[in-house]
Amino acid sequence: MHPPEIELNELDGIIERHKNGKWELIPLLQDVQATYGYIPPESITPIAEALNLYPSQVQGVVTFYSGFSLKPKGKYVCRVCRGTACHVKGSRSILRLMKRELELEEGETSPDYRFTLETVACLGACFLAPTMMINRDYFGKLSPTKLSSVLGEYRQKGNNKNG
């Protein structure tokens, strides 16, 4: 399957909003990432031109920060916490289970662009370790049972066209 089609003309609006400010490259890229779920490689040149930078400078920033991705991601980005607190409370097993459930390795996106599996250093919810985040929602005290019920919900949401 192909990644969901994207409307590149939204890019102009984003660039417009940022191009006159100071030090706007990263905020601009964050907007692009939030809008498309990734930084479309074809957007790099227009961004560089608008900000008076070399494309290589933009590329350099994109690749430096793990928050930016040059590849499209799934509709639901699952980020399993691999921070210390979660680690000592068994997040290795949670990650293993997620890999098995989603049939994905770390950093991979499912062929139907529904799920992406990532890890994150800490979500700041260590008191509920082990934790994960799906898009902007946090989940804590994960156990195998809890995990499958959470994933079940998202699978259903995904099946539901409006969801």
Partner: protein
């Protein structure tokens, strides 16, 4: 709302809020920050609906607040002014809460905290031991005010410090006060804040910048998140005071993108402050200008380092650079810049409001005030803890934290994350302050405390941190780029059971090089987790290297499975449990007997170390390995019985075993299985040894032992005879030329005891249970 154009107007605004506030309202404070990860939103909604449907909207206010601290029991709510705290609340509880507690002032047992030993419910927050030793100063508003409503902050006395500074204090006076308070940076390094401000204020150049470091990089720490989410205006006010003191007109808050709620609350706080004229031009008509904006991190740990952070704000790759020049001389855009941590900023309004004298009432000589710690890992009361600096480790982990769950042993607490080290059990009485913690090889750090228990492997923890720093190293300087990779490789090797003793020295040497030669703090501090575990847990390293043994049963390549690793008999637990899951009970018993001929006995009386190490137990409950064994073997004896063909004997050597206890019988069982002819001697009239003598009937019924022994007798029947052996028989009786003796004399002896009445002094008048 119009802008407040003078200090008087802000005071007027505050009195208006307080005046309008209706008296006698009951407030329900629902933690809607961290607890959202455990269903707080549903609770909030249900409470709102209940209050409406039970007609209490006028008398009750349901308020979304920040963290109450006792996060382990999420979702947590508090009911004020009564001071009631409920925990682990579910949406279905809303009806009861409104009906019973709010309407009739009756307490709900099931939602209360229960004291660990007595199981008595504790309804009032100030009686819960978790809060008793805390001193909640910086967190005073957290969990009480709605962080998205500036009026709440103002009503609670917010922006009073700003008023005080703008009206009564010159910029130098503010700096002097902060200096007198001996406030030290809460971001990790502990540099005196007042001094840093002085440098920035003396520095030439315009504009000047102040920055709040909200990158909270230590994985396992969440103090900053809680402050930003629960009381964002405290940070804004702190920055306003700093800006006023240093003469800065622009501020940035650099916050991690992984904290969406914090970002929302900060955006709201900034917008509301701007709207009231507390940020922007000509603040409160005093001519003071300060603009504050947010910058989001993009997932790079190294951006918490101040020079990297500034590069990132400028839109570049977040790589550290050499200092000097320090940010105070040349920071953002080459202009003077002052960076402080979230918690540092949040301390400032307290100091300005109450004075350095009050501030210094708690703390130690060199580190004043309180520090917030985030307690996580293997501790009962995970959550946010604010205590005077100088509180002991024991107080924090045991008295406040409630000790280690599941009755396990405390091993160490990791402080300071990837730049810190561990504080092992022998330092429980250590005072937690910057200098003391540093003296034992850890650091107080930003306040993350991750508690480790006996099931954690210290080598693996060191490896874990190194893999973190290795992947987060920006790669700018060679010592760090290559050194972290090297260190990680060595530690990985050791956890794989492929380590060499020389590796330990290599780690120490490499560590030293990294500390001396790296450009920034990431590289300089990254060997600490390894060095500190080497210092206190060298035996674990040696076990891994020499014996391929991992006491925590964590390291995959030397531990096939944690349960099997922990079982003294080395039973293949995963396979026998899987066989039971498939309904193949007979096969399961066969698998157990590969290593242990007593499945029914061990299914009852084994202390099941396997279950303590079971990895599922880290997540919720350990698999009931022992009970499964009992169930399978009971099924076996009921449906198949002890009958079975004896093992064939095909070797010529003969073996004599003395003692028909569990060990002797097991020995006979496996020797006959291997084909040796075996004779067992026993002094008692029955076989079974201590099983039958020492274990009480209610724990291990005799028929179970008999059945099990009968099975052993049958399979070893032809080749194994038992002889009654009289005490003190000479060893030659059973040792002939072609017989190899195995001596298994009675192991358990009566323990000597000191409870004899003082005068007798001897044990002669007493008969100990074992002999009897």
């Amino acid at each position: 709302m119009d802008k407040l154009s003078s200090i008087g107007q802000l005071e007027w605004f505050r009195s208006r809020i307080l005046f309008r506030k209706e008296k006698g309202i009951i407030e329900v404070h629902v933690c809607m920050t961290g607890c959202r990860a455990y269903g707080a939103a549903g609770v909030l909604e249900a409470l709102n609906q209940e209050v409406k449907s039970q007609g209490l909207s006028k008398q009750v206010e349901i308020r979304s607040t920040g963290c109450h601290g006792f996060c382990a029991k999420a979702p947590v709510i508090a009911i004020e002014p009564m001071g009631i705290q409920y925990q682990e609340v579910e949406p279905d509880d809303a009806g009861d809460i409104v009906m019973k507690t709010l309407k009739e002032n009756r307490m709900i047992d099931r939602l209360a905290y229960h004291a660990p030993k007595t199981f008595q419910p504790v309804f009032y927050r100030n009686q819960i031991p978790f809060y008793a030793k805390q001193e909640r100063r910086v967190l005073a508003n957290c969990g009480r005010i709605d962080p998205t409503n500036i009026e709440h902050y103002i009503a609670a006395g917010g922006y009073r410090a700003l008023i005080k500074a703008l009206s009564n204090m010159g910029p130098e006076q503010v700096i002097d006060e902060v200096q007198a308070a001996k406030l030290r940076g809460r971001g990790g390094a502990g540099f005196p804040t007042g001094l840093k401000w002085k440098f920035a204020s003396q520095s030439e150049g315009r504009p000047k910048y102040v920055v709040c470091n909200a990158d909270e990089g230590d994985p396992g720490a969440f103090m900053d998140r809680a402050i930003l989410e629960g009381d964002p205006h405290a940070v804004v006010e702190g920055m306003l005071l700093g800006a006023y003191a240093m003469g800065s007109e622009y501020g940035f808050i650099y916050v991690r993108e992984e904290y969406p709620i914090a970002i929302d609350h900060l955006n709201i706080a900034i917008a509301q402050a701007e709207e009231l004229g507390l940020l922007g031009e000509n603040i409160l008509g005093t001519g003071f200008n300060f603009n504050l904006s947010l910058r989001l991190g993009a997932g790079a740990f190294v951006c918490g380092e101040e020079t990297a952070l500034m590069a990132s704000i400028e839109g570049r790759r977040g790589m550290p650079r050499a200092r000097p020049p320090f940010p105070a001389q040349a920071g953002i855009d080459g202009k003077p810049t002052n960076i402080n941590n979230v918690e540092t900023w949040a301390n400032v309004p307290l100091i300005v409001n109450n004075g350095a004298g009050w501030y210094g009432e708690v703390g130690t000589e060199n580190s004043k005030g309180t520090k917030i710690f985030s307690l996580a890992g293997k501790v009962n009361n995970t959550g946010l803890v604010e205590v005077p600096i100088g509180t002991t480790v024991k107080d924090v982990i045991f008295n406040i934290g409630g000790g280690i769950p599941k009755g396990r042993q405390f091993k160490a607490v990791q402080m300071g994350g990837p730049a810190g080290g561990c504080v092992p059990a022998q330092f429980l009485n250590l005072s937690i302050d910057y200098d003391t913690v540093q003296s034992i090889g850890a650091i107080m750090g930003s306040g993350g405390m991750v508690v480790l228990d006996e099931n954690n492997c210290m080598v693996e923890i060191a490896r874990f941190f190194l893999s973190f720093t290795q992947s987060e190293s920006c790669g700018k300087c060679a010592p760090c780029r290559l050194g972290t990779t090297q260190l990680l490789e060595i530690l990985t090797r050791i956890t794989r059971g492929e380590g060499r003793m020389e590796d330990i020295d290599t780690i120490r040497e490499l560590g030293q090089t990294l500390t001396e030669a790296s450009l920034c703090g990431l590289g300089q501090a990254c060997p600490k987790p390894a060095l500190s575990t080497l210092r206190y847990f060298i035996n674990e390293y040696e076990d891994h290297i020499k014996e391929h043994r991992c006491a925590g049963a964590v390291c995959d390549s030397m531990v096939i499975s944690a349960c099997q690793h922990a079982c003294p008999a080395g039973i293949d637990v995963p396979n026998y449990v899987a066989a039971i899951a498939d309904g193949e009970y007979e096969k399961s018993v066969e698998i157990i007997r590969e290593r242990n001929p007593f499945p029914a006995v061990c299914g009852r009386i084994c202390i099941h170390p396997c279950e303590y190490k079971c990895r599922r137990g880290e997540l919720d409950q350990a698999v009931a390995i022992r009970a499964l064994k009992r169930m399978a073997s009971d099924w076996y004896f009921k449906n198949i019985g002890p009958q079975r063909n004896p093992f064939p004997v095909n070797k010529k050597e003969k073996i004599a075993i003395v003692g028909a206890g569990p060990a002797g019988l097991t020995c006979a069982y496996f020797l006959v299985k291997m084909g040796y002819k075996t004779t067992v001697y026993e002094a008692q009239s029955v076989a079974g040894g201590m099983l039958g003598i020492a274990v009480p009937e209610f724990r291990l019924p005799r028929p179970v032992i008999e059945e099990e022994i009968q099975y052993i007798k049958i399979v070893v029947l032809k080749s194994c005879t038992t002889h009654r052996l009289m005490p003190n028989t000479h060893s030659t009786t059973y040792s002939t030329r072609d017989t190899v003796p195995f001596l298994l004399p009675p192991v358990p002896r009566p323990a000597s005891t000191s409870v004899y009445p003082a005068k007798t002094k001897t044990s002669q008048e007493f008969t100990t249970a074992l002999i009897f």
